[in-house]
């Protein structure tokens, strides 16, 4: 079993070693520094507060992508400096670089994604119908939406084109005329000016280049924009911004629960607006509900791309909107994540992106590791002195725990993006103590059981039963700390929680899978079971005093834990040690039923004056084989 474990461990470390040494964090390895500058026409939006919000959101995004500890701070009051460890992947860079501004805009026109002058023919209308039903996940109930609804959508869409054509025809002078017709609300067709239409016609949403999104596509909040659906299946003319991303308090995804409280098999994304968002969203839904399709849809625009354009089915007054439709588990989750993390109050552009060296000198890590090594050696020496041969069990367990930790960290840095920072290294060094404590608790328990007079094999079993409880509850407390902090905290604290959890799990694994089996094995060896002086389980040291061993026998620990040693030989051999072992008080051995007063006195005398030659009747007490 142990060899199997060894094999597994070695294979594990070997395999993960193949993917190099663990990745190091920003403080030890350096990384990439990205400076972000907000782009905003009106400067009053760039305040300390909005910068702070942006930092918080970027930090959440980086944290969500793994456990890399990023350094994020403001610079000069307007810029944001993001330090990412190592060479971040494209995905991580995108998370930071993409401004990802989330805006809610009303839909005015939906057309086919291909570039077209004006979508008029039947083909594009049906495309559009498909787009409208596929792309727009409808809010709330879906039952009413049957085939007839599809028809209706199509009809209205065609009708929209007509209206829109009329509108354009009626304003031949373009922009000047368009602005003369003052839009009354954000869904008004008056927003669709010639310029907008031209833009719409020119936009090709089937071109992947137009589907990457970006800060330049976001547009002004009080102007209409033309946008592509994120999957390239439709393009939209959208009214001015009505609700902003930061009005979203939270978003989550899950299986939809219907009005009866029964979970359905339909995936849904739930949005929870904050106070202001609730008010704004109520106004929007009130207005949109009475409008015809597609103007009863609102679009969630992330970086200038429409990620979802659900239809309004009811007025949302409590700020809790539910979006359902053709979601899968992944797409519902993605939408929720985009809604959660996508709500940057500002739009940023990357000003510079450069390599940055480690913020701490390389010597810090070297010295730290050196210190750890010195500490480990000291621990090894100490446990050898304290526990003699048992110390070897401690040391080998610690070595295994260390290999385990190294392998796991290497594996996680490869699989999960975990990065080891200097505080992490220090945490690992402290973990030596906590891991060793599990062994110490266990060994002390074994000694306690030996003191109670058990044989080593019985003592190991009994001690394990008791020590296991202690180890489990104390590690459970550590694990609880790790889990709570990992899920609730951000930044460096999260990294700490990860390390703590990791070392605790390793501690448990090593104690259960290695130390205990090894103890069980060595309990069978003569060296330990007989309590050799160097075994750390020296019976004579642990069981001082003459002890009644039941069935009329008395054991004398000076004779190797009561094994049948010749009483005549024992005192002479171990004179020096026995004088040290002389009990301070003489326990009154209660006479067994078959022990005479004379015998008892003899036993007492022997215990009190070890150098006295044993008397002839001593053979009574040397047969405690099963003690």
């Amino acid at each position: 079993m142990v060899s199997a474990l060894f094999g597994g461990l070695l294979a594990g470390t070997h395999w993960s070693d193949a993917s190099m040494t663990p990745d190091l964090a920003l403080d030890l390895e350096g990384g990439t520094q990205i400076i972000l500058t907000p782009v905003s026409e009106n400067d009053e939006r760039v305040t300390e507060e909005t910068i702070e919000q942006s930092i918080e959101i970027i930090r959440q995004r980086v944290d969500a992508s793994g456990v890399a500890e990023a350094e994020i701070s403001s610079q000069g009051g307007t810029n944001i400096v993001v330090g990412l460890p190592g060479e971040p992947t494209q995905d991580t860079l995108d998370l930071v670089r993409e401004s990802a501004q989330m805006l809610f805009r009303p839909v005015i026109v939906v057309t086919a994604p291909t570039p077209d002058e004006v979508a008029e023919d039947a083909e594009s209308a049906s495309d559009e119908e498909a787009a409208a039903t596929d792309e727009s996940a409808d809010a709330g109930a879906t039952d009413e939406e049957g085939a007839s609804q599809d028809e209706a959508v199509q009809d209205e869409a065609v009708q929209d084109e007509a209206t829109q054509d009329e509108a354009t025809e009626s304003s031949p002078e373009g922009d000047a005329e368009g602005s003369a017709v003052e839009p009354t609300d954000p869904s008004d067709f008056a927003w669709v000016t010639d310029a907008v239409l031209e833009e719409l016609g020119a936009l090709d949403c089937t071109d992947p280049a137009n589907l990457t999104g970006g800060a330049e596509l976001v547009g002004e909040p009080d102007e209409p924009v033309v946008a592509c659906g994120a999957d390239g299946s439709a393009k939209y003319v959208l009214g001015p911004v009505e609700v902003e991303g930061q009005d979203v308090a939270s978003a989550s995804s899950g299986l939809r629960v219907n009005a009866q409280g029964i979970q359905t098999t339909e995936w849904a994304t739930t949005i929870d607006f904050d106070g202001e968002g609730t008010r704004k969203f109520r106004d929007v839904t009130t207005r949109l509900l009475s409008l015809e399709s597609p103007r009863n849809q609102f679009a969630m625009v992330l970086d200038g791309l429409v990620i979802s354009a659900p239809q309004v089915n009811s007025i949302i007054i409590d700020g809790n909107a539910e979006i359902t439709g053709s979601f899968t588990r992944e797409s519902a989750g993605t939408l929720a994540r985009q809604l959660n993390f996508g709500a940057l109050p500002l739009t940023f552009v990357v000003q510079s992106e450069q390599q940055i060296s480690a913020t701490l000198g390389a010597e810090q890590l070297q010295r730290g590791l050196l210190a750890g090594l010195i500490g480990l050696i000291l621990v090894g020496v100490y446990s050898l002195v304290q526990y003699r041969a048992l110390g070897l069990v401690t040391i080998s367990s610690l070595v295994i725990a260390g290999l385990f930790a190294y392998g796991l960290i290497t594996f996680l840095s490869w699989a999960q993006g975990y990065r080891l920072s200097l505080p992490g290294v220090a945490g690992l060094i402290v973990a030596i103590g906590i891991t060793a404590d599990s062994f110490i608790v266990y060994f002390e328990r074994i000694r306690d059981e030996l003191r109670d007079g058990r044989s080593l094999r019985a003592a190991v079993d009994e001690a394990w039963r008791r020590a296991r409880r202690t180890i489990l509850i104390s590690d459970a407390v550590s694990l609880l700390a790790a889990v709570v902090l990992y899920f609730l905290a951000v930044g460096g604290v999260r990294g700490f929680a990860f390390t703590l959890g990791l070392t605790t799990v390793i501690d448990l694994l090593v104690v259960f899978m290695f130390t205990h089996p090894v103890m069980k094995l060595i309990a069978r060896t003569r060296f330990f079971a007989e309590g050799h002086r160097l075994s750390g389980l020296d019976a004579s040291a642990l069981r001082s005093g003459v002890r009644y061993a039941g069935r009329g026998r008395v054991t004398d620990p000076s004779q190797r834990g009561g094994r049948g040693t010749s009483p005549a030989a024992a005192p002479g051999l171990r004179e020096g040690e026995r004088s040290e072992q002389t009990p301070v008080t003489v326990p009154v051995s209660s006479g067994g039923p078959r022990m005479t007063i004379a015998e008892r006195r003899a036993a007492e005398r022997r215990a009190a004056q070890p150098s006295v030659e044993p008397e002839g009747d001593a053979d009574r007490r040397d047969d405690g084989k099963d003690a």
Binding site: I356, G368, A371, V379, L422, A426, V430, L480, G492
Partner: protein
């Protein structure tokens, strides 16, 4: 040494040798209280010295640097009398970034000049700006929220496990004690508090609870049937638990402190200021405080809380009265007190006194007759 230690462990286990810790709890409470008070006063008067990471500071960018050594920058910052170690990194190929604590305009100009001369640059190759905190308010807030939730949860877990809310309360008090002392020491030493320090504080939090739980688990085992036996009082059983785990506590804290001490030594004396030193000091003090509080604060506190419970108080009174009676001390002569009792694990094979013998069930019945 080991022999003596295990001999000592024997004596502690059997109660032949015993340290009265619960009985002298007033002394320990006062000691802990005094240290706490000093720490709190230090915190209040001197306060903590948060690093650049918490407060933000000034940032200098040196462009076109030929030799991107870090030391000249550190020397330059020291030359204008700024005590804090700057964070120096190279950016790109030929730029050096120097972050210092918040400087005044005059200091900024001085440092710009000093940096320019240190790296042999034109003055226009050094630009300065100010930089916000890396460890922002939101990180602190979220960490605190996480901590509060953790403490609430762990109290519930411990209450359920030990089936006693007092143990959870005592453990949390011990934890706060350790944290305040560690933080207070930082105030006393005046070292800069960096994120590494905070991580150190958090590690201490974990260690302190862990250690207390280990000791409490032994206490739990010992006191489990206290009220069903008539030999020892609750306080004596708890004290025995401390004594029996004493060897373990000492071994564990030495094993935990050795590596940390090595880091502290190397960090503080060979490296000077830096992450290692910051974290190692917090850990070193915290581990010692954590071990101390588990033994001398948490358990006596637990006993004090339990003895307020009528059942336990009644049990204790009854035991003491019995002992006085057994020793022939009259009720009135309370000053004489009960004779000291050797409290230890019950070792088979020793005479436990006449009272341990089974009693005759009915006094008047003639022997040898079955009903």
């Amino acid at each position: 040494m080991a022999t003596r230690m295990s001999q000592w462990g024997n004596d502690l286990y059997t109660g032949r040798r015993s340290y009265e810790i619960v009985g002298t709890k007033r002394r320990w409470f006062m000691l802990a209280g005094a240290v706490l008070l000093i720490s709190a006063v230090l915190l209040g008067v001197r306060g903590l010295n948060p690093g650049i990471e918490f407060r933000g500071g000034s940032e200098f960018m040196l462009s076109g640097v030929a030799d991107s050594e870090e030391q000249p920058a550190i020397d330059a910052v020291a030359s204008i009398g700024d005590a804090e170690t700057p964070r120096v990194s190279t950016v790109g190929d030929d730029m050096v970034r120097v972050q210092t604590s918040q400087l005044t305009d005059v200091e900024t100009q001085q440092l710009s000049a000093a940096l320019a001369s240190a790296y042999e640059l034109e003055s226009n190759q050094v630009t300065s700006t100010f930089i916000g905190p890396i460890w922002g308010q939101d990180v602190t807030e979220k960490a605190l929220r996480g901590l509060v939730i953790f403490l609430a949860l762990v109290s519930v877990v411990m209450t359920v496990y030990f089936r006693d809310w007092r143990m959870a309360a005592a453990a949390v008090v011990a934890l706060l004690h350790d944290l305040v002392i560690t933080v207070g020491l930082y105030a006393a030493v005046g070292w800069e508090v960096t994120p590494a320090t905070v991580i150190g504080f958090l590690t201490i939090l974990g260690y302190s609870l862990y250690d207390t739980v280990v000791v409490f688990d032994k206490v739990r085992e010992n006191v489990e049937h206290t009220l069903d036996q008539r030999r020892y009082t609750y306080a004596e059983m708890a004290n025995l638990a401390i004594n029996q785990t004493l060897v373990r506590s000492i071994n564990t804290s030495i094993v935990a402190v050795l590596p940390v001490g090595a880091i502290l030594f190397i960090g503080a004396f060979l490296l000077g200021a830096g992450t290692l030193r910051d974290i190692a000091l917090a850990l070193f003090v915290g581990i010692i405080a954590g071990t101390f509080s588990s033994i001398f604060l948490a358990t006596p506190l637990l006993v004090w809380l339990r003895e307020k419970e009528p059942r336990v108080a009644e049990h204790t009174r009854a035991r003491l009265a019995e002992r006085r009676a057994a020793a022939g001390v009259t009720e009135g002569d309370v000053a004489a007190g009960a004779p000291p009792v050797r409290v230890g694990a019950l070792v088979p094979g020793q005479h436990l006194g006449a009272r341990a013998q089974p009693r005759r069930r009915k006094q008047g019945r003639p022997p040898g007759r079955t009903s």
